[in-house]
C-alpha cells in the first residue's frame, strides 16, 4: 500500500465534508480529507473573535479596496472588515456570470461552516413529495422516514437548540433547550397566536448554537460574533465539532491546499480509483487512491469536479450521462419582507446578543390551498431596540444630542422571506473553457435565474409579511422587495440531483453516482428540490446516511 492510499477520500471540509470525515473515520475507515484552501485552526486562528467593535480600523465597514477586490461579495452583507479572510479571493477564483449569480464562497478548512447562519430545520414529507405531485423535475427517491433517524443523529451530535413546537409542516427534532424570545417577540407571538390560532406559527429559531455544554464544547455565550469563529466552540462548525471527532479516531488525515481537479475513473471496474490533486501552493500534481470517494466541495464545485472527471468516457464528465449534471441550479430567493415599530416596552432592553431570531414556517399551498404559484416560503426575523446612532428629531448637534445618542431608541420588528425555487433544467452551470483561474484550471459559468413561479410567490411574501405584522399589532409597517437574484440565498443546490432513474438523475437514493457506485455526492448538489427551509441540516443527514450505507456496502464487497 503506497502512502497515497486510503480507504476513503473526502473532497472538501465544509459542513458536509466534515460530516463525511467524521462518519467514515468513526466506522473505522482510514480517510483523507482534501481541502483546497488554507488551514484554519480552531480557536487559535480566529484572530478577530475577541476584538471589541472599536478595535477594527474601519469599525467593521468596507473600504474602497475591499469593494474593488470583491466585486461579487460586495453585493450583500458578507463583505465586511471583520472576517474578510474567510471569503474566497475572487481574483484568484473567478467565475462567469451569464446571468447575475451571487456566489458567496469560503475556500479554507471548514468551508462555510465557519460563517454560516446556523438556522437548522427538518424537511417534511410535503417537501419530498412535491416534485412527484407537481410533475416537476424528478421525484425524490427518498421520503421523510428514510431521513428522520439521520436528522436525529445529526441534531444530537451538532447540537441544535429549538423548541418542540408541534408544527405539522416542520417536524420537531432532538433539540437542546431553545433560546428565549425577547419581550417584544413574545408580545408579537401572543397576538399572532390570537389571530392565526393554529393556521400559522411564530416560533423561536432552531439554531446550531448549543445551549448546554456538549462534547467538550461550551454553551453559547450570546456574543453574536459567530462568523468570526467561536472561541467557545458554541456553534456547529467543522472545527468545533466534526473535525475533532474525526481526529479522535486516529483515522483521519487532513490535507489543506489540495485542489481536487478530477476523480480518477477506471473504465474496467466502472469505479473511481482515487482523485488527482493540484497543490495550491506548489502547483505540483498528486494522486490519491481509495475505495470510496465522497464529493463534498459544495453544490457548484462538486459539479465542477465531476465535469472534469472521466471525460474520456463521457464528454460532459462523470455523471453527465443523465444530461442533468450541472443543471437544475437552485437556491432560496429572498430580499423581500416587512418591518415596523412596536409601541411600549420603553423600560425594557435586551442583555446579551442572541445569535438567533424567530421563524414563521411555511403555511402557503398546504391543506388544499392553491395560490397562483406552487410551493411556499418561510420567514426569519426578530424584534430589537433601535441602535444608538439613529437620528433624534430635534436635537441634531451638541452636548444634549451626544447624550441622547446613548438612550435606546424605539423597538422594531422585522422579518424577511425565504422562498422555494423550482428545479429548472435550463438553470445550469457548465465549464467555461475560455477562461482559467489562477492555477490554470477551467472555471464555471453560471446561467440561472428566478422565473414566473418565484416572482408570483414574492408578491405574497411581501404582502403577507405586512398583513401578519399588522395583525400582530406592529405599527407603521413598511414593506420591501427586490429583484430576485439566485445565489444570494447562499443555499446553492441541485447540480447533481438524486433520483430514481439514471436517465434523469446523477445520483441514486444513496447519493451514489449512477455511473460510479463508489462515488458519493452528499452536499447541496444532491437536492432534487429546494423546499424553503435552510438546507444544511439536510446535507448533514444525507451525508451520515450515505456514509453508513457506503461502509456497509464496502464490507459486503459490493463497492
Amino acid at each position: 500500500m503506497s502512502n497515497n492510499t486510503y480507504d476513503a477520500i473526502v473532497i472538501g471540509s465544509g459542513i458536509s465534508g466534515g460530516w463525511a470525515a467524521k462518519e467514515l473515520t468513526e466506522k473505522g475507515l482510514k480517510t483523507i480529507m482534501l481541502e483546497r484552501g488554507k488551514n484554519i485552526e480552531h480557536i487559535k486562528d480566529y484572530v478577530n473573535a475577541n476584538k471589541g467593535p472599536w478595535e477594527f480600523e474601519h469599525r467593521g465597514g468596507r473600504t474602497q479596496k475591499m469593494i474593488e477586490d470583491y466585486p461579487v461579495l460586495k453585493r450583500d452583507y458578507p463583505l465586511n472588515e471583520t472576517n474578510l479572510d474567510y471569503w474566497t479571493n475572487e481574483k484568484e477564483s473567478p467565475y462567469t456570470e451569464i446571468k447575475r449569480f451571487d456566489w458567496f464562497r469560503g475556500y479554507h478548512m471548514g468551508g462555510r461552516s465557519l460563517m454560516w447562519g446556523r438556522q437548522s430545520y427538518r424537511w417534511h414529507d410535503t417537501d419530498f413529495e412535491a416534485n412527484l405531485k407537481d410533475g416537476i423535475g424528478t421525484d425524490w427517491p427518498i421520503r421523510y422516514k428514510d431521513l428522520a433517524p439521520w436528522y436525529s443523529h445529526a441534531e444530537k451530535f451538532a447540537g441544535i437548540s429549538g423548541n418542540r413546537d408541534g408544527v405539522p409542516i416542520l417536524p420537531d427534532g432532538d433539540f437542546m433547550p431553545p433560546m428565549d424570545m425577547n419581550i417584544v417577540e413574545k408580545d408579537v407571538q401572543k397576538r399572532f397566536k390570537d389571530f392565526y390560532k393554529d393556521a400559522r406559527h411564530f416560533i423561536i429559531g432552531r439554531t446550531a448554537n448549543i445551549t448546554v455544554p456538549h462534547n467538550n464544547r461550551t454553551n453559547c455565550q450570546y456574543r453574536n460574533k459567530c462568523w468570526l469563529g467561536c472561541p467557545f466552540g458554541a456553534y456547529f462548525s467543522t472545527q468545533s465539532a466534526t473535525l475533532p471527532a474525526a481526529m479522535a479516531t486516529g483515522n483521519l488525515t487532513v490535507r489543506p491546499w489540495s485542489i481536487v481537479t478530477k476523480i480518477l475513473y477506471d473504465k474496467d471496474t466502472k469505479k473511481a480509483k482515487g482523485v488527482e490533486v493540484l497543490d495550491a501552493e506548489t502547483n505540483k500534481t498528486y494522486e490519491f487512491y481509495a475505495k470510496i470517494v465522497f464529493v463534498n466541495a459544495s453544490a457548484l464545485n462538486s459539479a465542477w469536479v465531476l465535469m472534469n472527471s472521466a471525460t474520456d468516457v463521457w464528454e460532459g464528465g462523470l455523471g453527465s450521462s443523465s444530461g442533468e449534471l450541472g443543471h437544475n441550479v437552485m437556491d432560496h430567493h429572498l430580499g423581500v419582507g416587512a418591518g415596523g415599530r412596536i409601541e411600549g416596552f420603553e423600560d425594557k432592553y435586551t442583555f446579551g446578543r442572541r445569535a438567533n431570531g424567530i421563524y414563521i414556517p411555511r403555511y402557503r399551498n398546504l391543506n388544499g390551498e392553491k395560490r397562483d404559484y406552487i410551493r411556499g416560503f418561510g420567514y426569519q426575523g426578530g424584534g430589537s431596540r433601535e441602535g444608538w446612532s439613529r437620528d433624534i428629531a430635534e436635537l441634531n448637534i451638541g452636548g444634549s444630542f451626544k447624550d441622547a445618542l446613548s438612550e435606546p431608541g424605539s423597538w422594531n420588528f422585522g422579518m424577511g422571506g425565504f422562498g422555494e425555487t423550482l428545479p429548472y433544467h435550463e438553470n445550469r452551470a457548465y465549464l467555461d473553457k475560455t477562461k482559467k483561474d489562477k492555477w490554470g484550471l477551467p472555471i464555471l459559468a453560471i446561467d440561472a435565474e428566478c422565473k414566473d413561479n418565484e416572482r408570483k410567490m414574492r408578491i405574497d411574501m411581501m404582502n403577507d409579511a405586512k398583513e401578519m405584522l399588522e395583525n400582530a399589532g406592529v405599527k407603521d409597517v413598511n414593506t420591501y422587495t427586490s429583484e430576485p437574484v439566485l445565489g444570494r440565498g447562499i443555499h446553492e443546490m441541485g447540480t447533481a440531483r438524486m433520483g430514481r432513474d439514471p436517465k434523469s438523475s446523477v445520483l441514486n437514493e444513496w447519493n451514489q453516482v449512477w455511473d460510479a457506485k463508489n462515488v458519493f455526492v452528499t452536499d447541496g448538489a444532491a437536492m432534487a428540490s429546494a423546499a424553503c427551509q435552510n438546507p444544511s441540516l439536510t446535507y448533514m443527514a444525507l451525508t451520515a446516511r450515505a456514509a453508513d450505507y457506503a461502509v456497509k456496502e464496502l464490507k459486503k464487497g459490493n463497492i
Binding site: 480600523e57 474601519h58 413574545k186 450570546y222 425594557k348 442583555f351 441602535g387 446613548s406
Partner: protein, 184 residues
C-alpha cells in the same frame, strides 16, 4: 494631552492610521493627518476637526476631539469613500469654508462655540428644507462628516464601555432587561 501625544495615542488605537510627520510645528500649511487619497491642507484639517467637535462637543463627557473622532472621520473618508464622494468632499469643504467665513467674518475653526453652533444649526435646518439647493456641495460635505462622526462616536471604546454597557462575552441572554441598567 498635547497634540503630538494625542495623535500618537490615536495611531496606537487605530493601528497606525496616522503617520507622524517629521515636524509638527512647521507651519507650511501641510495637514498633520496623513492620508492616501484625500489631499487637504492644515486649514481644511482644522475646519473638519472643529466641525466634529461642534457636532459632539466636550461636556462632562469627552467630545469628538478628545476621543480622536476627527482622525477617524479622515480615515473613513480616505479609505471607504469613492473617488466621486471624495471629490464632493473636497468641493464641499471649500463651499462650507466660504459660507462660514462669509457669515461669521472669520474662518470656521476660529469661531467661538456659539458661532460655530449657530452656523451648523443652520446647516441642519437646510438639510430639512426640500427646496434647499446644495450648489456648493457644502451639505454633502457636512453630511459625510456628521455621519462618520456619529458612527465613530457610537462605535468608540469610550461609548461602548462607558456610555452603554457592551460586554464582549455577555454569557447569557436576558430578554427583559430593564432599560436603565443598559446605560451606565
Amino acid at each position: 494631552m498635547n497634540r503630538r501625544a494625542a495623535i500618537r495615542n490615536m495611531a496606537l488605537i487605530m493601528g497606525s492610521a496616522v503617520v507622524l510627520p517629521s515636524c509638527l510645528h512647521d507651519d507650511k500649511g501641510k495637514a498633520v493627518v496623513e492620508l492616501k487619497h484625500l489631499k487637504i491642507d492644515a486649514d481644511q484639517e482644522k475646519l473638519v476637526n472643529s466641525l466634529t467637535e461642534t457636532i459632539l462637543p466636550k461636556t462632562d463627557t469627552p467630545g469628538a476631539a478628545e476621543l480622536g473622532i476627527n482622525l477617524f472621520v479622515f480615515k473613513m473618508l480616505d479609505d471607504c469613500t469613492s473617488k466621486e464622494q471624495q471629490a464632493d468632499f473636497i468641493t464641499g469643504l471649500g463651499g462650507f469654508a466660504d459660507e462660514a467665513k462669509k457669515q461669521m467674518g472669520k474662518s470656521f475653526a476660529d469661531g467661538t462655540d456659539k458661532e460655530r453652533t449657530a452656523f451648523v444649526t443652520q446647516m441642519e435646518q437646510h438639510s430639512k428644507d426640500k427646496n434647499y439647493k446644495d450648489n456648493a456641495k457644502s451639505m454633502a460635505f457636512y453630511q459625510m462628516v456628521k455621519g462618520q462622526t456619529i458612527f465613530g462616536y457610537t462605535t468608540s471604546k469610550f461609548f461602548m464601555t462607558k456610555q452603554v454597557v457592551y460586554e464582549l462575552v455577555p454569557g447569557r441572554y436576558n430578554a427583559m432587561y430593564p432599560a436603565k441598567k443598559a446605560m451606565a
